[in-house]
Amino acid sequence: MDLSRLEKISDYEWRICPYDRMQVPAIIFGSTELIQGMDDKVFEQLRNVASLPGIVRAAYAMPDAHWGYGFPIGGVAAFDPDNNGVISAGGVGFDISCGVRLLTSGLEHTAIEKQNEALADALFKHIPAGVGSRSQLNLNATEIDAVLTQGARWAVANGYGFAEDLERIEEHGQMFGASPEEVSPRAKERQRPEMGTLGSGNHYLEVQKVHEIYDSVTANAFGLKLNEVVISIHCGSRGLGHQIGTDFLKEMAIADKLQNFPLLDRELAYAPIRSQIGSSYIGAMRSATNCALANRQILTHFARKVFNSIFPKSHLSLVYDVSHNTCKEEWHNVNGEKKLLFVHRKGATRALGPYHPQLPISLREYGQPVFIGGSMGVGSLVLAGLSSSEEKSFSSACHGAGRAMSRTQAMHQWEGQKLMRELRQQGVIIRSPSFRGIAEEAPGAYKDVHAVAEATEKAGLAKKVAWLSPMICIKG
């Protein structure tokens, strides 16, 4: 992206001044290098988002932003339902409530290094990953509806985890306001065999080592200790969320066309929050959120069983579970007034600052854990929400390193089997059903996650807490 098209606010914050149909400015967070590396499509998509009815304050792009669908990935926008604000299926994405959860194990990395191949094999066997994978669950219609209403609470009530897990999940494991009756039979049918599966693409279960700590007080509060083993799980609402996205994108686009709404991008189809379609989508989307929360809870249970079978002294405790493809109804300060807004985060993480009432009491003093997934060569970073992000980005931060190149380019540049061997030499064990999938997810295909985390901190969105380096990666 050409910086001359932007107005500099600070070294890590740039503005697109309103023009044409833009209702508000657009703000891009990032270092000059990261912003220069962004696709021009980010500019275009952010401008389109800033043109939507009822948008409040600004449209935002996080430091990891890249070309998405209607919204840029790494896009944040809040809408006021009392001022014709809208909701957009494209602004949430196809993988509704995709997110990351982090678990501590209580194990030193040296304790697992002797059995890391066995651990990798056992995880690969018991964590259903990749195209065509299945778990043992096959839920009937009543059970599916219960999952869509109760989320991770359903999973815990059915033996997948512990009650104390729920405190460390956004919404305490259950998104209220879900309406399973708004979810199509097709979406439910797609999900039936897919509960408790990881998926494919950039989804993973990774065993990592706490490699470096940047903020020891906060790391300690999160339960992160240097050289200890942690587990990251990245996945979403699987077929159900994908189908809800497909169904409502079409429904909104058709309604917009019939009503002659001025659409700048078909993928940016929207509906007024206070409309029948808007309300239906919100009910369905919240159902998908519950599906994702339950799915990550079930996968946690599978991971616990594997760890306990090999390391009986391990105890996998949840640090936090946070979604990064959502639209949530939240209170925010707007011009000195508290307003209830619908905040879209497409490939962006909520990053509540210290003392926010929605944080679990045990974490409240420290800010919300934020997880930035990097790549299977570098691992992830843990950050903590800052109070300053409320003013800057409706308490949002970034969610990943962001791709540096397309899957097509990566597939031509790397060979999966060779890459797997090279990573093994670097101490990272990969298990995946697909060599091509590994090539498409090559570490070199991603931006530098440290640069993204640094920019996030410098922009005042969240502060760095720890770096988790990869040991074992189960890729779908």
Partner: protein, 154 residues
């Protein structure tokens, strides 16, 4: 490779290759090219299959699944067609290698999908398809050829 359709006007390329992928920041574009609208749709479906499986010819056409799609216009029809294939892949755990559109007009089509159950060792599937999107969704006549394309989210 450009996403600009004008780049496709090179007839040699069109004659030699009837489907292709084009890049998207995080996902993949699928483009079908045909002498008719029907053929362009069928080729777009093969392009989509090859996002999942590098060699679609490894998929036997031993089972048939019939689908009916309807939409308000030809663009939504392509969206509906590709997403119906994804739905059948997901729920039946199948991969398809041959697509025959039996009847088609601007707002509806009936098609047969030929394929087999997913065999991870044989097919080496790389990614699940989340959905065909409306990003870069185009159905267009270029010279003697029809183009049908969109980005698929994986």
């Amino acid at each position: 490779m450009s996403t600009d359709l004008s780049a496709l006007e090179r007839k040699n390329q069109l004659y030699n290759k009837r489907w292709e992928h084009f890049p998207h920041g995080s996902d993949v574009g699928v483009r079908g090219i045909g002498h008719s609208l029907q053929e362009a749709f069928e080729m777009a479906a093969i392009a989509m299959t090859s996002v999942v499986v590098a060699d679609p010819t490894s998929i036997a056409d031993e089972k048939v699944v019939k689908i009916n799609c309807s939409a308000i216009d030809i663009y939504f029809l392509l969206y509906e067609f590709l997403n119906s294939i994804i739905y059948e892949m997901d729920t039946k755990q199948m991969l398809f290698s041959k697509f025959i559109i039996r009847t088609m007009n601007e707002t509806s089509l009936q098609a047969n999908l030929y394929g087999e159950g997913v065999d991870i060792k044989k097919h080496q599937p790389a990614v699940d398809l989340k959905g065909a999107t409306m990003t870069d969704l185009q159905v267009k006549q270029v010279g003697d050829f029809w183009i049908a394309q969109c980005i698929v989210d994986v």
